[in-house]
Symmetry: C2
Subunit: 321 residues, 2 copies
């Protein structure tokens, strides 16, 4: 059964700007975030506090955090991967700090990109949660990266994903924290609608109380179909990126760009009668703004195709005229 | 239940080239059709025999029909809208002539684009079928255009679509012909997965023996999700366009381009274990060729994202190495 309402976390500014060739002026990034704040979105990931050298597109993360207009009721979050990044995020004083932990079912990805064995990573994650607690940062987000498949490892067996979710729940129990969402992340776009349904069904059967969420990429054109499969399975939390900005810079193929597009997902929800709290027309305008800012076409469709709600109105008026 | 196999009718050369600004050399159109012939596709719509003045991108339809390489086992079809067009299609002597009739549930579209009332159109269709029979052309295809919604009329009620399918079946009975497929055509991209499921369910309940098919456009990013909904409802016949070429030139908004992409649909089928008879890698190469021919990016995703089957092989080899 589809949920009655859906919470979309907007990741476009972070996912998108970090991989655009740029340079994109900070003012324009802030312009997009401020516009997104007016759409009804309540969670916006605005930046990554990562190495300025390695990710030059995010070198201005501190400035972004300083300059955005904070709208009451909206949480502005950020990513970081080490203490230095966390300190920068905290220093802004304007962001919602949330502890996020990641488990990697693909041993090959873990080895290749993070240079850890699964055991080392689990030990590291224990340390991470302890550190978050010490710093008073709520640990509320978890994710299983490459949950559906990995370019270096291949398909990920269902049993392995269930094991990973179990590890996350064990971590939560041991450290007395609560994950508000556990994202099944299709980082490299291996998911298809039937694998989404199968995985959600299997994980939920194993852990009925886990708050599952989907983080989807559209690399193979399956993003919206996968989101729809998730909705049909009752998933009510999604990450998405305005315009379809973004991608995984580590996925080792140039087609990796493209998170599932926020306004296309919001349109699907609108048409299914699912509440998102989003003003779709305002969000479509943000998709168009994002395109203007990056200076090239972005993959989202509704910003070209148009909101059916407006066409319905026009048809109604035409019939009356 | 998804079907065990799916028949995809490739409409890219016809749908696509007729709306590209062009001019595209005939040799290149033929090159794409010849490449498509080698993918395992068994039905390829190669051209429209329409007014050379009104649709200059199809002025070379006769040449195309003359120059393509006819591969045994592949049917090459064409569209036409009047006797002159039919005569040109027939004159080539190389095409499979199939009679196709169309019913329009949107009175507004029928009035605006064809200038007929529903009654006039039904009378016209009677005449069309009689004429096909007279000429010995098998009448095997029917479609309900704008079945899901129309920019001029709004949403189309289910009952109206059921009425239209009923009219088609009555026509078939009266003229003693058999429709091998009745397409529910989402000409203006109003469908979403749940409306697809609802409509197929309702039409099938009313007419359990009707051979339903889907003709989908991706204007609002729902194409593959809608195809997936169709597959889940057991639909086994789809129209699609390589690379996502094409669109409806009459749909009155610039985002109308983009039939559901053949290689993305074939990828979805591959991943669901549904037989298509298509060599996906060869089809992806055709998508890339189509892009090269039109000279701009086409919307399909798999041609950038890559066939997972190849990534699986690479991951397996990497694991063994």
């Amino acid at each position: 059964m589809p949920p009655s309402s859906v919470l979309i976390t907007e990741e476009g500014p972070r996912e998108g700007f970090q991989i655009e060739k740029g340079p994109i002026p900070t003012a324009r990034k802030v312009e997009l975030i401020d516009a997104l704040s007016e759409t009804g979105l309540t969670r916006i990931q605005v930046a990554s506090f990562v190495s300025r050298k390695q990710v030059p597109g995010m070198a201005d993360a501190d400035d972004i955090a300083r300059r955005i207009r904070i709208k009451p009721g909206v949480e502005y979050t950020a990513l970081w991967f080490n203490d230095a990044g966390l300190e920068r995020a905290r220093a802004s004083g304007r962001l919602t700090l949330e502890g996020k932990v990641r488990i990697y079912p693909s041993d090959a990805f873990l080895k290749r990109n993070i240079n850890r064995t699964p055991e080392q990573h689990l030990a590291h994650t224990h340390g991470e949660i302890a550190r978050f607690k010490e710093l008073g940062i709520p640990v509320r987000d978890a994710s299983v990266s490459n949950a559906f498949g990995c370019n270096f490892q291949g398909d990920i067996p269902l049993a392995r994903v269930i094991e990973c979710v179990g590890q996350l729940l064990d971590l939560a129990r041991e450290h007395d924290v609560h994950f508000e969402k556990i994202s099944l992340a299709d980082t490299m776009a291996w998911a298809t609608p039937h694998t989404v349904k199968r995985m959600i069904g299997a994980v939920r059967e194993a852990f009925p109380d886990a708050q599952l969420s989907l983080h989807l990429h559209d690399t193979r054109g399956m993003g919206i179909a996968n989101a729809c499969a998730g909705l049909e399975m009752g998933i009510s939390k999604f990450d998405a990126a305005v315009g379809g900005l973004g991608g995984c810079p580590f996925a080792a193929h140039k087609g990796a760009a493209g998170n599932v597009c926020t306004e296309d997902l919001a349109f699907l929800c609108q048409e299914m009668g699912i509440e998102t709290g989003i003003n779709l027309d305002a969000l479509i305008a943000c998709g168009q703004l994002a395109e203007d800012i990056v200076g090239h076409a972005l993959p989202g469709s509704i910003k070209q195709g148009g909101n059916l709600a407006r066409l319905r109105e026009a048809a109604r008026e035409g019939a009356l005229a």
